[in-house]
Amino acid sequence: MNDQQAEAIDFGELVQSDRVHTSLYRDPAIFDEEMERIFKNTWVWVGHTSEIPIKNSFVKSWVGDKPVIVTRDKEMKVHVLLNRCRHRAASICEQKSGKTSVFVCPYHGWSYALDGKLRAVPHSKVYGEDFDKEEFPLISLRTEIYNGMIFATFRDDIEPLDDFLGPAKKWIDLFMKQGAGYPVKVLGEHQFTFDGNWKIQLENTTDAYHFPIVHKTFLDSLDSETTNIFDVLGQGGWLEDLGNGHSVMVMIPDLVDLDENLDAPIPERFEALAQELREEGHDEDKVRRMVRAVGGGGFNLNLFPNVACSMAFFRVLRPVKVDQTEIRHIAIGMDGGPDAANRVRLRLHEHFQGPMGFGSPDDAEGWERVQRGSAAGDDLWILVNRGEQPLEGHAAGEHVTDVSAETGMRAAYDMWKKVMTA
């Protein structure tokens, strides 16, 4: 898109306090501008430190539509590098993750260290004596880490990650308690694409309203005790705008802090696990801590623009096209924790998440239905006006709204508007 076209769109008009315009899902020109104005101007989640646990390890990722490699160099420093040779632009890494001391471009053999430095250029004499390898490292993005979550940005002059996250940091810390005393570790991931705009997924992570409708068959597959736990609208939960487009949706207040209520009875579905852990010799306190943490926390933390700490896993979105988005559901567990407990986490993740989970396919179908339906009426608006009034006298504070409110969507679209009109 050229500058004239971009200037013709009044981004500020397209997002109102209670509604957003349908063109936000459908207009390719808006999508192109989002890739520039949002994904090249803010902190974007690229990975978890456990994905690059040792020196010289790497994992591929994305910043918006830009392919990157997240690396840990031989000094254990983390880098986020554009996956593009400085010579003629070939991608230098097509392996998802692994260990190497050097990336060699397959086209002409330029080789780079994991900190991005250009190490060697075949037949370099032909370039002449003034050729300086130091001028052509892989492009390295500014990278900062909070509690294991790695973020990168194209901008050297925006606020530190700590400030960008702000009040969300408290919720990240709570989320990581599901390590139950062990470091949190990525155990694997489900990936699927859906034919719909990325913001439909951004909205969904902060949408409790759909849960009992879309996920009826998941709920029906649970025992009655667990069905009650997943009564996400009926437990006094809340939604809170955390600033900078972030929000938290508390669905199960009892599971906000996994270090609390360790004396509560062990749920029937985890009794076998508890017994197995006792037989392995773990003391009762530790058993209770692990069992309480094994199903994850009671909230979704939605971080603008591309990641959520969603109850028991990371949910990551990647915009592909205006009407196509890739989703990753990254399973996490206890690094060094008992196999029995991590197996339960894996089976729980498979139960709901992924291309054949009891939940995700119905979510994906719903999101595609939004994209299909939005074709009917380009002049219409998407409503995000549910639950605008704060709850009166709620224990979480004066400013929180109902758990099924669209407060998180309004928070994200406020940020969208701020960044798109900056």
Binding site: K96, E326, E350, P355, M356, P361, D362
Partner: protein
């Protein structure tokens, strides 16, 4: 010795069983499909094509009898947006190779292509499939089925039927 000869499963018998299973899945006759299984049988769709410790890895599906029953109930419930309706499927299973057999069991490797269609969109899923069949009286039962999709470690999509 005679008993061994009687219980052995021929490749021809195995292929007929596998084709019948394929038809039950395309016609979504899940009650009949559940009945094909041994109680201990596992239905697995791994993500890692090369691994073998499926229990300690994340899979697309890792179903024992209870999960198979829950999954088929869900798919036929009418309340799952992705399977009401589900995509229509037609599958071909071929390239059969005997792997290992003993008295009363046979493991077979095969290739599978599933074509799915829903809402103006036709898509293809290729896979290597391993079946372990066991003799149970006058019939065979499915004791293990592992479907290694070609693109299992890449992006898939919501799949509202069984592979």
């Amino acid at each position: 010795m005679e008993k061994t000869a009687t219980n052995a499963i021929s490749l021809d018998e195995a292929i007929r069983f596998i084709w019948r299973e394929a038809e039950l899945l395309d016609t979504q006759d899940y009650a009949q499909w559940l009945d094909l299984w041994t109680p201990e049988g596992l239905y697995i769709i791994p993500i890692d094509r090369d691994g073998d410790a499926r229990i300690d890895q994340l899979n697309v599906a890792y179903d024992d009898a209870e999960m198979r029953a829950a999954r088929t109930k869900r798919l036929k419930s009418g309340f799952s947006m992705s399977s009401a309706p589900s995509a229509r499927t037609v599958r071909l299973v071929s390239r059969f190779v005997e792997e290992a057999g003993d008295d009363g069991s046979l493991t077979v490797r095969a290739a599978q292509q599933v074509v799915e269609y829903k809402f103006n969109r036709t898509r293809l899923l290729g896979a290597d499939v391993t079946y372990r069949l066991v003799r149970d009286g006058d019939r065979l039962r499915l004791d293990h089925k592992e479907i290694r999709l070609l693109n299992s470690d890449d992006s898939l999509w919501g799949i509202g039927y069984l592979l």
